[in-house]
Symmetry: C2
Subunit: 211 residues, 2 copies
Amino acid sequence: MGKQSIPDVVIRRLPIYLRVLENLSEDFYGNVISSFKLGEKSGVSPAQVRKDLSIIGSFGKQGLGYEIAVLRDELKRILNLDKEIKVGIIGVGNLGHAIARYITQKYATEKDFHLKLVALFDSDPEVLGELINGVPIDLIDTFHAKALELGFRMVVIAVPAEEAQAVMDKCAAAGIEAVLNFAPIHLKAPKEIRVHNTDLSIDLMHLAYYL
Amino acid sequence: MGKQSIPDVVIRRLPIYLRVLENLSEDFYGNVISSFKLGEKSGVSPAQVRKDLSIIGSFGKQGLGYEIAVLRDELKRILNLDKEIKVGIIGVGNLGHAIARYITQKYATEKDFHLKLVALFDSDPEVLGELINGVPIDLIDTFHAKALELGFRMVVIAVPAEEAQAVMDKCAAAGIEAVLNFAPIHLKAPKEIRVHNTDLSIDLMHLAYYL
């Protein structure tokens, strides 16, 4: 099946399956995992696991399950995680700092984490040159040049709401292809850029409904 | 329509609409907003806006739109945001710190932000008593007693994966009703607890598919 035809809700679950596989002790499970076990550890029903994996073309062996190494490699390939992916962060306040530390620490400590932080940007000249786990903070004015020089195409936006659209416009101009937006605002972007939003206030307000 | 019968995908969009309404300049828009304008600012189609709002029982006036103040109050009531909601955070590393600062700053500066951080917990005795914007860090051992004393029912989990299930079990024992989990692991919880997961690695791996 072509990449374009995998539904996004299925894509969303693939990294969850991948993480489960990467954290397995292979000694314990042998070299196969059942859809039941994979589902249990992923928070997904076994039927959904089988359906998702058949969509990407992976089929378990009747009564045995999925070969762990094969499935892991296949998931990585589909998610483009069989190669290193460079990431930049724009906005290095509290949140940007926390994200930068998280990515760099995961990259340094987990052999299967393929996202590498290569650049940090902020509008405040006072933090220029400061390092976060070895990655220097550049001024946002240099974003376009740095994106081309370093070759990253994925960006995390962690600036205040009122600065976020201008930052998104810079991303569009520099050929960025994927954006994870933490700014609490809906951003307009050309359709060539895939934008996902993650928003703590919205998450909390959503949960409040269930109190 | 009873609360139980509103689909979660609709509930998810209500805080987004609410945020748009709270950020509107009423002078500019008068006291009504069209489904087109509300949709544009929310990143949702006008038809979806009308459908969502009709599900919660709010109907715009033909050719005019929705009364802003009425709709805002209605959304707050449905989301339980017409009263203050107390929140606790478990795990005060980089991420927990950033979340704590975010919630306290938003609460202090935005009149319509109803989530109040009342407690912080960590397993490290070294940070005991430290304050984040006035909220002290307690030892996780005191969680049960503090939850009852302070009366919070919503918790953010920001501990490492290997500690998260034990923390969730403490939440269940203390009668917590809603959990936002940042730990990169699927947690088992009794069905009385609503658990939402938010996971930076999964978000980034998901986006990598689109590069």
